[in-house]
Amino acid sequence: MDSRRRTFLKVLGGTAAAGFASQPLLRAFADPPVASDEFFVLIHAAGGWDVTLSLDPRNERRGIIEPGSTDTIDTAPIRLWRNAPLDADTNTFEMVRPAGSSLRLGPAIGNLADIADRLTIINGLAMNTVSHADGTFFAATGRHLAGGKPVAASIDTMLANEFGRESLLPTVSVGYPSTYVGNELDARVSPLRVSSVDTLSKMLARSNVNTTIADRQAVTALLSEESRELAENSWYRDEIEGFGLQFQALPRMLSPDVQSIFNAGALAMAQPGLFPSPGLRFQGRAGVNCAFAVEAMKRNLVRCVSFSSNSHDTHTNNYRSQPLIQQELFDTIASLVRALDAAPHPTRVGRRLADHTHILVVSDFCRTPQINLTMGRDHYPNGSALVISPKFVGNTSFGRADDDQLLPAIAGTFADGTRAVAPPDLLATFVAAFGVNPRKYLRDGDVIRSLLRA
């Protein structure tokens, strides 16, 4: 344990303070291990989305299914909405069939339709709950709540534990259901939970009214020297050496380059594609979070960025906005992918960030196939998820919900027999894609090999 921690402290100094790589002590540790070339963006579509408008589209009345229609939806802002007759005076939508793709999508899919060849869709997820809290944590941890408490680590924590121990910021969690539960977890990967990335900017802001940056850097340099001297005279050196290395990393942490990734205005300047004009009505913060992810990953500062979107919970006539809420989220994710395509990988020369960044989008559950008495849809124990990852087979849909009731249908044969796919299977497959044994973190779930690239 001691040697492991000491190794980390040294690597931390090397990774976090790459700008100091000319210093002999740190040069040897400046190159992160191969495993840390991967980055992760985990998104929770909060509130439970209506999959019949996007990932598992339904455009005909069948069984108890009432498809989205011009009676129940504001169709004007939905760019891919094309009327298809439902009955005499009501229209539903035509399926979206991206060119060169076998996928059938709903009109709320937005710009993700343009990159259908990179989408891996999981439908008919057996959520077995209609509770927001339970569904949220089931989707993120693979376990239902027990006594109202999460009982397993969330997917961002799992990934940070595997690949982010040496990162300056292993996980930045913006309202994501991040949990830190389990005996296998390293203390360093406890998620940094914030309400918005701007919150962190307060920690890094400095005033130059009374004193100057030179004054503060002199103090930091002195403390680094004090730490070195204390460590030399200590039997237990790790903690104090940790201080010293972190003091050395602090100037980089406070550099304008790093501070800019915690500032929404600077992020908008750096990633204008994620801040469309006019601004988004529902998912503006998703743009900030995605821009933060890209900029932080470009600088190799963070391993996982996880965040929750604005709510899809539409029980009443606010359901009219459900497709727009989704379209804005999917548009933002598509812009994120484009930004990752354009960004160079921080440690792999000649590679794009997109080649090593993996996106997982989940939700609490989906919404009822029926329209309720207040023109909305309620909670329903089915779900869908979306993966965009070079490790996964794209242009693919796995699992299904039945045609009449939109309930999870048998997706295949698993270790425990034939059944529907469930969140633990998805999470197990996601971590296994990177060579991680799912049983290290997940009690349940089978790896779905057919979803993974060879």
Binding site: P150, R188, T199, K202, M203, Q246
Partner: protein, 249 residues
């Protein structure tokens, strides 16, 4: 993020602070502050059994633990006690100040970075420092020390001061090594709890250089900025409240 637990932690701190009484002023001046002004004679190690009266005393052979990080609540309580014994809310108001110099926000903004746990979502207490935590230490340390210079060093008589319980030469002139050492000892005892003379040998010269460099940098400071001695003592104060010995036990 202000979660319910963090709000509760803030409320607890407010309660604790309201019950606190300011530390009584110490009658420490630069002259008597130096009562321990040199390192003690090094004592040759002796087996405990050879010390008279200790022949039958059992030695503690329990496994020892490495230094641990001070809990964030204790850390904040220490800030409050050292910088005037105000309630957390009152100290926050003082730290924010009336100017727009952006020195401080609210305690709640820093709880997560300082490692306060959030058991509602199973986020445990941060057991060790990270780069962001050290950035928060700096942010808070700068605010505490610069406000202390403005409110304590500038305003009050030496005997009435809370932190800087020493006088400065008038008119302003450079401090001799001894004069600096005596004043530094006051701060060292106050913040780290023991005489500076007992610290590792390099500490006093190191802080003296820090002080003098700051004085030099601020020799031609504008009217709004700290003058040389003010900047020097602010830097020394920051060096002590951000010191590893202040955060570990």
């Amino acid at each position: 993020m202000k979660t319910t637990l963090q709000r509760a932690a803030t409320a607890l701190l407010l309660t604790l602070g309201c019950n606190s009484t300011p530390a009584p002023p110490l009658a420490v001046s630069p002259t008597d502050a130096g009562s321990v002004t040199s390192r003690p004679t090094q004592i040759t190690p002796t087996p405990v059994t050879q010390i008279p009266g200790h022949e039958l005393i059992a030695q503690d052979r329990a496994p020892k633990e490495p230094p641990r990080l001070m809990p964030a609540e204790t850390l904040i309580r220490s800030y409050i006690a050292l910088f005037g014994g105000l309630s957390p809310q009152a100290l926050q108001t003082r730290l924010r100040g009336t100017t727009s110099d952006n020195l401080f926000d609210t305690w709640a903004d820093y709880l997560s970075a300082l490692g306060v746990p959030d058991y509602a979502v199973d986020i445990p207490r941060a057991p060790q420092t990270n780069a962001l935590m050290l950035a928060a230490f700096e942010r808070i340390g700068v605010a505490l020390c610069e406000r202390a210079v403005q409110n304590d060093l500038r305003g009050a008589l030496a005997a009435d001061r809370v932190l800087f319980r020493f006088d400065l030469p008038t008119p302003t002139r450079a401090l001799t090594d001894d004069e600096f050492g005596a004043r530094f000892d006051v701060l060292h005892r106050r913040v780290l709890g023991y005489p500076a003379a007992l610290a590792p040998e390099g500490r006093i010269p190191r802080f003296r250089t820090l002080y003098r460099d700051a004085v030099t940098r601020h020799a031609d400071a504008g009217a709004r900025m700290f003058n040389g001695p003010e900047a020097g003592w602010a830097s020394v104060c920051e060096g002590l409240v951000r010191h590893p010995e202040f955060h570990l036990y």
